[in-house]
Assembly symmetry: C2
Amino acid sequence: MKQVRVGIVGFGTVGRATADIIAKHSELIQRRSGVKLLVTAVCRRQAIKTADVPHGARSLTSWKELLASDDVDVVVETMGGVDHSLQLLRGALEHGKPVVTANKKLLAEHGDELFALAVSHNLPIGFEASVAGGIPILRVIQESTAGDRLRALHGILNGTSNYILTQMENRGIDFDEALSEAQKAGYAEADPTFDIDGQDARDKLCILARMAFGGRLAVERIPTYGIRQIRAVDIRSAQRLKRTIRLVASAEQTDSGLDVSVRPWLVDRRSMLAKVEDVNNAVFLVGDRLGTQMFYGRGAGGDATGAAVVSDLVEIARDLAAGRLSAKNVVGFLDHQELTIAREPRPVGWYLRLTVHDQPGIIARVAEVLASNGMNIDSVQQEPHSPKERLSLFFTVEPVSEPKVRGALEIINAFDFMVEPVLLLRIE
Amino acid sequence: MKQVRVGIVGFGTVGRATADIIAKHSELIQRRSGVKLLVTAVCRRQAIKTADVPHGARSLTSWKELLASDDVDVVVETMGGVDHSLQLLRGALEHGKPVVTANKKLLAEHGDELFALAVSHNLPIGFEASVAGGIPILRVIQESTAGDRLRALHGILNGTSNYILTQMENRGIDFDEALSEAQKAGYAEADPTFDIDGQDARDKLCILARMAFGGRLAVERIPTYGIRQIRAVDIRSAQRLKRTIRLVASAEQTDSGLDVSVRPWLVDRRSMLAKVEDVNNAVFLVGDRLGTQMFYGRGAGGDATGAAVVSDLVEIARDLAAGRLSAKNVVGFLDHQELTIAREPRPVGWYLRLTVHDQPGIIARVAEVLASNGMNIDSVQQEPHSPKERLSLFFTVEPVSEPKVRGALEIINAFDFMVEPVLLLRIE
């Protein structure tokens, strides 16, 4: 039985789960791959408790030391962040070692450099764990859609936000309460910005869109809105419309380019998107031939992410043992073609929540602005029993492209009766 | 640019779609794989119309001739059936040619022989298209779950049955009408037995279960029930219970072995299974670490199946061009271990529909039989306005294992007031 020796850098939730799966599923892995995986070194800046160090592994505090070790064949990066992990991946590839990473931020920002470096050393980078945890969506896009042209993809890519939205809906609580509960439950960080303001979903979307549509896409070019502004009144309003709210990352080919964004959507309560609850993730792919496909599963957590890391390790170990290790043609990261962002996004319906100091004539004035910007009102509601000085008004409008809505919002936000800026949600 | 020459045997819907995708997506395929696919020969017993023959390909009427051709590197089998396709696959492998097939019946019945032959010639068999058309579920099971131990899988694997059930529900029509409409729409064969009696789903389940749980499983050992007995009264009764009916293929590890079957289930109307409508398929996987995953998409049709065939072709072509073509370790088809079928399946809820000639005391007599077989009644309903000589009675019972229900059914079916045997559905 051939042995492949693994070094794990960053021994947090995912790193520990990876080591645990390798130990507990050793026989299964051998049967599936014909290779025995062995963790020989683990590394974290703060020394790891002896009881936590995998049997037979050395515990290190410097990743540079791990990199220089003779007894590591594959490097697993689960420390997160960008600076050190970038140096680590560069170093590993330059030392001739394949790597597996769960770091979407690193790949969204430095994927071009890293995949090119991997090609120049003819080594693979495993990164299935970087997007949607346990859902093997990158393999699906890379391999299975080779026979089809993708037109669109969208999905729920951030478990923390989805957990918060689900809690707000199921329990009628407000955003702050749901966030603090998510933090207590370990589903949100002490600083939750990255998750709730949409950057995490944006980084993942960037990777997905590049692979699906084959080209470069700078992560900062993706318009990104989070869920921080969503309140219990919006959830109730959505319910009256037989809908619910989800943070959706989407990319769609249009005649003028890619219509791409991360933003909250109002979705039909009976839709599959609405059925994605708690920390789960889902990705929808729409292809010319395959029609709509949907992939659903746990988006985060040590076990699901660790299992994705191990699935990459098994593939690399099998190729390593067979002497056929090679770089992969990671579509979208090796072309120099740039993806064009759509000038004119496709018209969609919109939901606007205005928080106003009540006075006569508000609806008339708002309706006039909407009309003069070419928008047709679909419905107007008012939150029952809300105080006069902080009244919530809800407008839904018929499909219109985003620049028109933004134009109207600029005017509405300047009205003296507005207590805070309009909340804008896309209607599916 | 390296060229890989493809010969397609069986030029029906799937074969034609495959050729069409190869022609229309030629540039995309080249960009993704670095290889140019070229259809050089197509073959069907009845001569193919000249207009349908792909540009540059020869049209043959004998697959033996195609096999002997020098200008075919990979053989695609889309003719269906077992006898000829078995000979074709054997012949192709013995001629040193990799094959791609969409034939689940062939693999369910002769997979052991064929995958062993493939190993002895160190050649791959692509078979993604054989289960769930466009959903890349076999790749997912083969590769991505290498890091996890699967506990259960279940899914909707037959598009025809699902289309009929969806039509019955949405339009309130009876089985025969829905079947004849499905036939008109091209979703059911003139002889629909294989689809509506569950064998198609059973063959696919056999392949999935073998790969997921790693062992041999003779296809005849899977208890299989179809949807032929389901009537509009059952759909209405399900609706009163806030449920709907789906034909579900399932396999679950229990302490005493694998609990495996194809049968109609009564599922919650709000569940993801219920959301799978028309000819779509879905597969749920439950793993130790990954939790529940779900994969959804078109289960049949030339385009989806053709795209799956092409995804296999691209993988094979890439390896062929790189000189690294090799057999795959297809889990479950190369072990000699037999999967144990559970002696005592897990207790589940059941729905029983009795069609009776009404007379006093029926419910009491049925209730007594159920009680004496250890079953607790959950609800009893009667179809409103049904004629006295053909009254529908519906019982739901609390979870109990199948042998107990079967014992009770034997007694009930013998009662003189029974017009036809009890219809039994599993409740999820």
